[in-house]
């Protein structure tokens, strides 16, 4: 449920930013436009792949926890606590990917110096 919420947030952010960036990038020039399109494309796939792997991992953990509770209902308190901690650990990897995507889209500080270094004239 939580990774679904994170996935929805990432998708909404990307949808809005794609619209905004298209207008912004058209004023910069063809090479700058290519740069921005590539960045947004990569960011979209990055969060999707991270959510895919994260969901699988959490699903396996949940399966083992439910089997453990079914075998031994008295230990359900401890198993639930361990399950929640494990889920938050796995989810944090997906959150790292979301943070990298936010940096790419909103606060990419090395864009202009790197572009000048490579030879693109971003402006």
């Amino acid at each position: 449920m939580r990774t679904k919420v994170a996935l929805l947030a990432g998708a909404l952010v990307l949808a809005l930013t794609n619209l905004a960036l298209a207008q912004e990038a058209a004023a910069v020039g063809p090479t700058g436009l290519k740069f921005f399109i590539t960045t947004v494309f990569v960011a979209g796939f990055g969060i999707a792949i991270a959510a895919f792997g994260g969901s699988l991992g959490q699903g396996w953990g949940l399966k083992s926890a439910v089997e453990g509770i079914a075998r031994n209902p008295e230990a359900s308190g401890k198993i639930t606590v361990t399950l929640l901690i494990g889920l938050a650990m796995i989810e944090s990897l997906v959150i790292y990917t979301l943070v990298v995507e936010l940096i790419l889209l909103y606060a990419y500080p090395m864009a202009k110096p790197l572009a000048k270094f490579v030879g693109l004239e971003v402006g």
């Binding site: 947030a9 944090s92 959150i95 943070v99």
Partner: protein, 230 residues
């Protein structure tokens, strides 16, 4: 995304320090969280009756007693003097997280600086606890199981400790920023002020779980520093 109006910024503008509050909103909101916690502590202290416990006393005894038992459960009996730090971290982080849900306030944990400072305190405190208990033999925690491989293990362990600080910071930061983004987007896109309210149960659960995870990890680092090296 336009900047929202924050109560503390408006308050500081009346005093005249508006620029400071505008540049560092997470700092002034963390001061607000501290003031709220101190006032709650004074209120709890003044309502303690030894013979007939009052309701406020019961609630606080439940919270603090539960945290103490949980911490000692993980670290063992020797971890009892160290539970106030991690319990304070838990209550403070929970309050900071839910402050982001109220309109006009910003969650201080949505900024990297707050999280980094708390993570550094938690991890370095565990190192000092280990040094205090074992003395110079604490280096055995870093050398790994087999002695000749120590040269390989020490850099790996040091990087692992630094990665703990980084992971604690980014886990809390990512969760709370994602939550605030969703709230902002729902208000922005849906146009109605009460649009995020149905999701608030999920957000409060998320805030609680993230504070709990931070507290559990700091407790486990202290437990790992106290126990004997393998």
């Amino acid at each position: 995304m336009e900047h929202p109006i924050l109560f503390m910024t408006v308050l500081f503008e009346k005093i005249g320090l508006g620029e400071f509050a505008h540049h560092y909103p997470q700092l002034v909101n963390s001061w607000l969280a501290m003031i709220i916690l101190i006032l709650m502590a004074i209120w709890a202290k003044s309502s303690i009756r030894p013979l007939v416990p009052t309701k406020v006393q019961n609630v606080w005894e439940l919270i603090i007693g539960g945290l103490e038992e949980f911490t000692v459960d993980i670290t063992g009996e020797e971890g009892r003097p160290y539970y106030p730090l991690v319990a304070t971290l838990f209550i403070y982080i929970f309050l900071c997280n839910v402050m982001g849900l109220a309109p006009g306030l910003m969650a201080p944990t949505a900024n990297l600086n707050t999280n980094l400072s708390m993570a550094v305190v938690g991890v370095i405190f565990a190192e000092f606890v280990g040094l205090k208990k074992h003395g110079a033999k604490y280096i055995r925690h870093y050398t790994g199981p087999i002695l000749p491989l120590a040269i390989l293990f020490i850099p790996i362990e040091i990087i692992g400790r630094l990665a703990r600080i980084l992971s604690l910071t980014f886990r809390l930061f990512g969760n709370i920023v994602a939550k605030e983004l969703i709230i902002g987007l729902l208000i922005f896109l849906a146009g109605a002020y009460l649009a995020p309210v149905p999701l608030y149960f999920l957000f409060i659960l998320l805030c609680f779980i993230q504070a709990f995870i931070f507290y559990m990890l700091c407790t486990m680092y202290i437990a790992g520093a106290i126990e004997e090296a393998h």
